[in-house]
Symmetry: C2
Subunit: 440 residues, 2 copies
């Protein structure tokens, strides 16, 4: 499938229905930030404030946030804001001096992982975490080959953009990168685990045929940009066996599913009953503060650690650690994983009920508060309707409910709200969604 | 010169004179963070608090910070801390919604650059900024070849580590990367500008001979990890002409010299009377908050922008922008560039006076509050003394003055304090330095 690089749900300059003030902001953006930045929506939203699951525009209108996973414990959560402010005022320095905060956080974070995964390294972004994983995988395996799904997104550094096909054909993949079909139950024949593993094996064979030793299979364990594929539980195991048998590592990209979002566990890979060799973390880790990391088995980092040092000026600084600690406080203290499970199930139930009356609603995938709802033509699960999807996303935006779309066919509603989302918020969403569906 | 990757001024586990409590912290670090992390000093410092130019250990002892450029406006500056806290409590979201803060900051930042450099893109780290510069340079030039100095450091992503020879031979350089000697007036014969340009031209010729089209010459405009080479003013011009004549770009890495540190200008490249094609920014930009960026001429980003989009989840978020704005407030409001010029000159004068009595003090390079003091044997400027350098750095640490060393011969004292450093702080440093020098 061709991907010309057009972003799903991107604002097209000159279109939309912007106020004069917002047109001026768009012009200032273009002048100052240049041509590579994108806005969401036919008519972009001008936001000034956030609180919990709500975002507010410059006129004071409230928008229900059903999309932003970064503000995972709610926009501007007071406990997190206070931790950032308190630590910023006391000490903000880096990991080449001894300080306690980064260790307290590291140990608490590692306690949420299986015991084998006992080292963590800190970066500022998920892109940096995946980039570091790639460096470590090369050092450990002696290989360079990378296998990713065909609409994967793993980040924006040069190396990682080269293994992020969702960025489009304007961004070349590395010559050591192979893509495989996403584990889409509607499109992959036979047993999903066996079929996905066979695709991994074919990619391994092709790498070897070109003289390239495999280094890693890396997947977002919920396959977000591929269209959100959460299961069935355990289907990833044969693929992981295949890459390990070829001497490569399995890297779980938990930047999107991690920190309790999938409801059944803290980390997306846990649903599959396996232990990755490395796990990358990001977006919700600091609820907006730039902090990310990479968790690994000790033997995986030995080769890298024996010949290279790693220093990230801001990675693991005291404020990042204090902020991330406060996020864990809230995730655990407010029971947000359980909330994701319960409210996510309620959300899925509501969408399935709505689907009975609306044949535009095709297959639904859901794991906690990460849902992918296909929009299709005439009830045919294999007839994607990108145009309708766009109308829905923009219709909801007009109704002040924020959401976006994803997938290689641009027809998957990506529902990924802050984890403090309530059943009442779900009802609010469903009411608005039904009204938009009735508009056609 | 071989570089086995041993970090200058790194703690060697098992050595030093640590308290039991600090030994326990070191053990926790090794267990949680793994083998790739490094601490400073024979006996690492355990820090808990910072204020202005002072850092405090767990026992309440004060250390004069003569090294950390990140906390450029002073550790925990209240104006910056307040801006972070205020914006964190209100809105922290990203650049796919319209919001004012990032534009207000972008415009104010761009106003400090020559008019030709009119776009800025935001990242979280200097590594990400240089990595983005590399992607843009490839798209603009159609080339891939990169030229750096032989002990350069530009960052830690896969692509940028591959053009950072100071990381040591355990970290392979890219096959499209060529290194050239640093512009060391003591070691480069003849006119420095002509000699440096000749080295660039030789690297261009070698790239072309291997079928590699040059993409860029990238230099830290103060050549920090090469040993701090600040001048003479203008010597970079012929090298820049050479890379441009070969179809490549000139990228100024201002992560270390930028934001007023060199005293004579806001940006290090300005001393050389030239306008780079791209300028990367980082460390002091948010005084510890993870924010960085890349400034460029609009035509340079056209090719990249026509086929790729750029999104950095935390890059240019509202808190990053508000924090960076507060840093600019202080740099400009407290006259820190002028302070760097005046206090830096006083510092250099003090070091030169001390050199009259201590033949260990070899050549000194100084630009504002960025100073490189060679430590040599018997007054011979070409006889580096790495062992003495290490004794000085660790002697000063025992005297509670923080500093480090750099350079391919590990004999350059790297003096790079917060820009709020005063003449009294210089006197404090010089008194401690003289006492340590007398110890031999």
């Amino acid at each position: 499938m061709k991907n010309d690089g057009t972003m799903v749900n991107a604002y097209v300059p000159g279109k939309g229905n912007l106020s004069e003030a917002d047109q001026a902001l768009v012009a200032r953006r273009r002048a100052a930030l240049g041509p590579a930045y994108r806005l969401f929506y036919e008519t972009p939203v001008h936001l000034v404030r956030g609180e919990g699951v709500w975002l507010y525009d410059a006129d004071g209108n409230a928008y229900l946030d059903t999309y932003n996973n970064v503000a995972s414990v709610g926009h501007c959560h007071p406990h997190v804001v206070a931790a950032t402010a308190r630590q910023s005022a006391v000490f903000a320095s880096h990991t080449r001096y001894l300080h306690d905060t980064v260790l307290d956080y590291a140990e608490r974070l590692l306690a949420t992982f299986p015991a084998d995964l006992s080292h963590v390294m800190f970066t500022c972004t998920g892109s940096e975490a995946n980039d570091l994983a790639y460096r470590i995988a090369r050092a450990h395996t002696g290989g360079t080959g990378i296998i990713v799904t065909e609409n994967a997104y793993h980040g924006v550094t040069y190396a990682i953009a080269g293994m992020s096909p969702s960025l489009g054909e304007g961004v070349p993949l590395g010559e050591h990168v192979r893509t495989i079909p996403a584990p889409d139950p509607a499109r992959m024949a036979g047993d999903l685990g066996a079929a996905f593993a066979a695709a991994v094996q074919a990619a391994i064979d092709d790498l070897l045929r070109h003289g390239i030793k495999p280094a890693a299979l890396i997947v977002d364990t919920i396959f977000s940009s591929d269209g959100v594929f959460e299961g069935p539980a355990g289907f990833l195991q044969p693929a992981v066996q295949a890459i390990r048998a070829a001497g490569g590592l399995f890297i779980a990209d938990e930047v999107q599913p991690g920190f309790g979002r999938t409801g059944d566990a803290m980390w997306g890979f846990q649903r599959h009953g396996l232990i990755p060799d490395m796990v990358s973390l990001g977006k919700p880790m600091g609820n907006g503060y730039p902090v990310a990391g990479l968790v690994m088995r000790p033997d995986v980092i030995e080769a890298f650690g024996s010949k290279a040092r790693y220093f990230n000026t801001f990675g693991g600084n005291a404020v990042a650690a204090a902020t991330a600690m406060a996020v864990l406080d809230v995730v655990q203290g407010e029971g947000l994983q359980e909330n994701a499970r319960v409210v996510g199930a309620y959300f899925a139930e509501g969408l399935r009920a709505l689907a009975k009356d609306h044949d535009a609603l095709g297959p639904l995938r859901a794991a906690g508060l990460f849902l992918g709802q296909d929009i299709v033509q005439g009830g045919d699960p294999l007839a994607p309707d990108a145009a309708r999807t766009s109308r829905i996303v923009n219709g909801l935006r007009q109704a002040r409910v924020l959401i976006s779309a994803t997938g290689p066919r641009q027809n998957v509603l990506k529902i990924r709200p802050p984890l403090v989302f309530s059943k009442a918020n779900v009802d609010h969403f469903l009411t608005a969604f039904e009204a938009v569906l009735k508009q056609g």
